[in-house]
């Protein structure tokens, strides 16, 4: 994981993970993710986790932690490059949490719903298909 005392700024080539905890946020037909996953409400930021300096197991562990804290099912995650999030006015900013130094926010969303939807469609088109959590931690390495 990133050193909490030395959190570097986001680089364009970095991969970011968005965890999927709702079954209607991906298509069962081809496992692509829906734009709904990227709508930022109720905050003005979209929460993501940086892959940087994290093992695959750590990336999954963060998702599992969030899901269990919220009593939700972790269906998987979609990955997207930081540079692909620079749609219109968006930018990615490192926002480390005490328990997740890899946390970041996609900020700069417009307030109009239809503009948010158009951007979310673009992000969903650029994101990876759903990646399924490993059955056991050993499988994630």
């Amino acid at each position: 994981m990133i050193d909490p005392n030395n959190v570097p700024p986001i680089e364009e080539a970095e991969w970011l993970a968005r965890y999927v905890m709702q079954s209607s946020h991906f298509r069962k037909s081809d496992f692509t993710v829906k734009s709904n996953l990227f709508i930022p409400h109720p905050y003005q930021e979209l929460s993501v986790t940086r892959h940087r300096d994290a093992t695959k197991g750590e990336i999954w562990a963060i998702g599992q932690d969030v899901a269990s804290q919220q009593q939700r099912t972790l269906y998987g995650r979609a990955d997207i490059r930081a540079r692909d999030c620079a749609v219109d006015s968006l930018r990615v900013t490192a926002k480390p949490f005490p328990n997740n130094p890899n946390h970041a926010d996609v900020e700069g969303w417009p307030s109009e719903k239809q503009a948010q939807k158009a951007i979310a469609l673009e992000l969903a088109a650029l994101a990876s298909p759903l990646k399924i959590p490993p059955v056991s931690p050993a499988q994630s390495e």
């Binding site: 965890y19 209607s24 692509t32 734009s35 709904n36 409400h41 919220q70 239809q114 469609l121």
Partner: protein, 152 residues
């Protein structure tokens, strides 16, 4: 399809025609509803999952019953033979109806609790976006986009 509200008369033939007409009308409405059943079933499933707070693990707002009604009315108002959407929910409590060919050929319509339809579509590298009030009929602009998605 319209249903005759006034009786054609009091003769046996007129009564037979009225009964037949009512039966056919009912049969037609049931057939249409049957054709849209997959979308209604999906709507019910999404409602079941998303009608409580934080349904997405990121503090989403619950979908309200009036939003469910608008989404249902929208599906009912789709013309016969129109492709059915897949249903989803957004964290602001809107229900989404999506027509999808691939990630860059797609239309997403959000039904809000206020009865406003917000939509955005991707067609290759260009996008279309807008909003329309919903008065019980599918707006022409959205019908055109549904057709365009199918023409990929």
């Amino acid at each position: 399809m319209t249903t005759a509200l006034l009786s054609r008369g009091y003769t046996e033939t007129a009564q037979y025609l009225d009964q037949t007409n009512q039966y056919m009308g009912q049969h037609f409405r049931e057939s249409v509803a049957l054709g849209k059943r997959p979308a209604f079933n999906e709507l019910a499933e999404v409602w079941e999952e998303c009608s409580r707070p934080n349904w997405d693990g990121y503090d989403a707002l619950p979908v309200q019953i009036k939003t469910l009604r608008y989404a249902k009315l929208f599906i009912e108002a789709l013309p016969l033979g129109s492709p059915l959407p897949s249903v989803g929910a957004e964290p602001d409590g809107h229900l989404t109806l999506e027509w999808y060919r691939h990630p860059r050929w797609i239309l997403s319509v959000s039904a809000s609790p206020e009865g406003v339809l917000y939509y955005a579509a991707l067609f290759g590298s260009s996008d279309v976006r807008g909003s329309e009030p919903f008065f019980g009929e599918v707006p022409r602009s959205i019908l055109d986009l549904i057709q365009r998605v199918q023409m990929a």
